[in-house]
Amino acid sequence: MSKIHVKTRINGEAAEFLCEPDETLLEALRDRLHLTGTKEGCGSGDCGACSVTVNGRLVASCLMLAAEAEGAEIGTIEGLAKGAELDVLQRKFVEHAALQCGICTPGFLVASKALLEKNPDPTEEEVRYWLAGNLCRCTGYDKIIRAVLDAAAEMRRA
């Protein structure tokens, strides 16, 4: 079976790639485009490490075919900072020591960004439930939740 030609936009720039029909968006991002900031932790939508946005909607890129990305706007961790300037969420994760091993961090950041765009003033409980699909095994989530709430507060002040 021949490959599918997919034209898409990734982090605001046009991108195209060839993929197999059964290839996931995660595989295309990592293995075709070498955007390895998006991680695979489970391949079954249970861990959130592969979180990206598709047309502004948070999804698990391991549960989406690459072919479905035709014409879509994809957002990945690589697009979060503006050049050398970190996004406020990235800055707060560093400040709060909200990462230890860091493998889940890209997924948490992409998911948190999607949350704050939808809800700029979430409660602790709302943050915890929104991020329930992002597993972290190092931190016990404590510092992650604090970092997201602090980022939200700073964004509201700005």
Binding site: E20, E27, R30, D31, H34, L35, T36, G37, T38, K39, E40, G41, C42, G43, S44, D46, C47, A49, T76, I77, E78, L80, A81, L86, Q90, F93, V94, E95, H96, A97, L99, Q100, C101, G102, I103, C104, T105, P106, L109, E125, V127, R128, Y129, L131, A132, G133, N134, L135, C136, R137, C138, T139, G140, Y141, D142, K143, I144, I145, R146
Partner: protein
Amino acid sequence: MALDEYEKRDFKVVGKRMPRPDAIDKVTGRALYGADMHVPGMLVGKILRSPHAHARIKAIDTSAAEALEGVRAVVTGADFPDIAPGEARNVRDNTMARDKALYDGHAVAAVAATSAAIARKALKLIRVEYEILPHVTEISDAMKPDAPVVQEGFVQENVPEGFSENVISYHQYGHGDLDAGFAQADKVITRRFRTAATHQGYIEPHAALASFGADGTADLWVCTQGHYFVRQLCAEILQMDQAQLRVTASEIGGGFGGKTTCFIEPVALMLSKKAGAPVKLVMTRQEVFRASGPTVSSEIEVRMGMTKDGRITAAEAELHYQGGAFPNITVQFGAMAAFACYDLQAVQTRGYNVLTNRPKQAAYRAPGAPMAIYAVESVVDELCQEFDLDPLEVRLKNAARKGTRASYGPTYPDIGLVATLEAAQAHPHYSAPLGPNQARGVACGFWFNFGGDTSVSLSVDFDGSITVTEGNPDIGGSRVSIAMMAAEELGVPYESVRAVVTDTGSLGHNEVTDGSRVTFAVGLATIKAARAAKREMCRRAAKIWGIDEDAVVWEDGCAKPAGPNAGKFEPLSIKEIAAKSSRTGGPISGHHEVNAEGAGVSFGVHIADVEVDPETGHTKVVRYTVFQDAGKAVHPAYVEGQMQGGAAQGIGWALNEEYIYDEQGRLVNPGFLDYRIPVASDLPYIDAVILEIPNPGHPYGVRGVGETGIVPPLATLSNAVSRAIGRRMYELPMSPPRILKAIKGG
């Protein structure tokens, strides 16, 4: 002597919350983990695994797979050379079965192909002829004299008679007269406990990229807690010189002990050797659960006597642990740690290690201690309830302290348990009011902590900046702590120091990142390396000034004349000395190599409030506080992180995590859907209270903090749940069906 290392000082850098140098890479996606490396000409490796818990491999036909276009190599157990008995041989046989498949998921063959799709197709073309054998996955079944024997030839010399050949080692510790002790008690109780096998649950699956050269040298990129140990094991398994194999550790996506050994690396190397091309091998999540190294499951019996005023008069425990199809020493640590928190006149523990048809266990944070201490702390709590005594008072009354003879043998030097208990007692959490269906649990925990082989090289670069080269994968922020200690010792700004984790070809041996050793041991070696560099810089300054080197001292990042008699010279800064170093004798470095001792044992106390739904058995953790002696906390935020992370893992262990096997001995929950680790909405904030009781074995008083935090939560939660429902729980996990059954009187 290691106990003399500590000197009190006022810290300038240590103790602050500095920005972590690798954090930027990790929040931007730039950091490269095991599966993130791509090299030209790279093949994809995949492993075929046994669907049977125990089966003789009668034949493997790989011809159809080899004939498939795009397949470059197929490997089976027959490809690996014979080696002497020992851990490397166990690892070899675990990473690729030879005569028998020993558990569901045991590797039986592997392929390397030009794409993942072809590799997957090739696996389906491999024909394995199995003779299914009777299997055994549960401890008590495996110990019976007529049990199916998992592997022969591992029984140690001192195992008592009457068991199957699966009982391979026996360990007994203790002292004193048990009978006399129990006779003094007002109440003696005997209780049996079970804990399920759990998994470390790191989010990054194992990954390795191996590249074997035609000249017999090889490179390996791998996510591991210890790339030197990976090199040692792989070199022995492939029968090559260690120097011919260069191993580079990627950034590591969690380990907690589970990445302290090899599960796929020798296979990746063998595939690459046969294919003549680089091979990347990445486990799926299902493979991680089935074929990496979960922790042991346990069956434990504890007998304890207490007077009505709360003094423990005697205690004993028998521990049965299974850690899969290969030998391990985890039960030994359980037997040593079980009563380590207590000052006991009469104590004995007996540990039995049992083989089963399950994956080869690996270390998991304080290996062996959590389940043993869970059982002991549950019994202490039950006796506290029996006599209506405050559980922290009783623990203080019996707490081990300086001069106590530890249940595992030695007499304790200064230790922090009493201070930790007192901190817990004084904390507002302990006296906060509770709501309906809520209860509070407390428990203590203990871990040994280790040091071990460590090499550090510290170079003073020509511009006066500092590169610290170390060899321990940074699993949770160790580079920032190492850089802080270097800056502290040299008196230079933290920002001018960079700590780098290097490959096995660039620095002497380093033991695995385990045993809570890195901040302690690598920190110690870094400080000593910095001191060596300072001495050299003083020598250079002495030469420049033309005075005796003893007349130069190092202060605030500068060489200075020692006093008025030394001569009147302007201080030479590190920048000035570095800039002139070519002309004063050559580049300046300090280095230190040591088998670090004096890590110092560690204690923790946890308090949990839970709310149990009496109609469903659902447990909600409503408040949680951790108290732990960290020695000097170099970077408090990452110390808190270790304590919080350990607590969260322990909460998962207590409530929901377990390996579940079916009748055929197959693991039925090899994924994050049904292996239920805590999610963000399951937990409250976890308050971490750091006690800083300096460790005399470290120049700055640092103590390991990585492991102890997972020990107390099991009993803390069990004690809280038991008090909330008014019935004692004896098995982990305390899943809702078990709790509801207990509530209903089952």
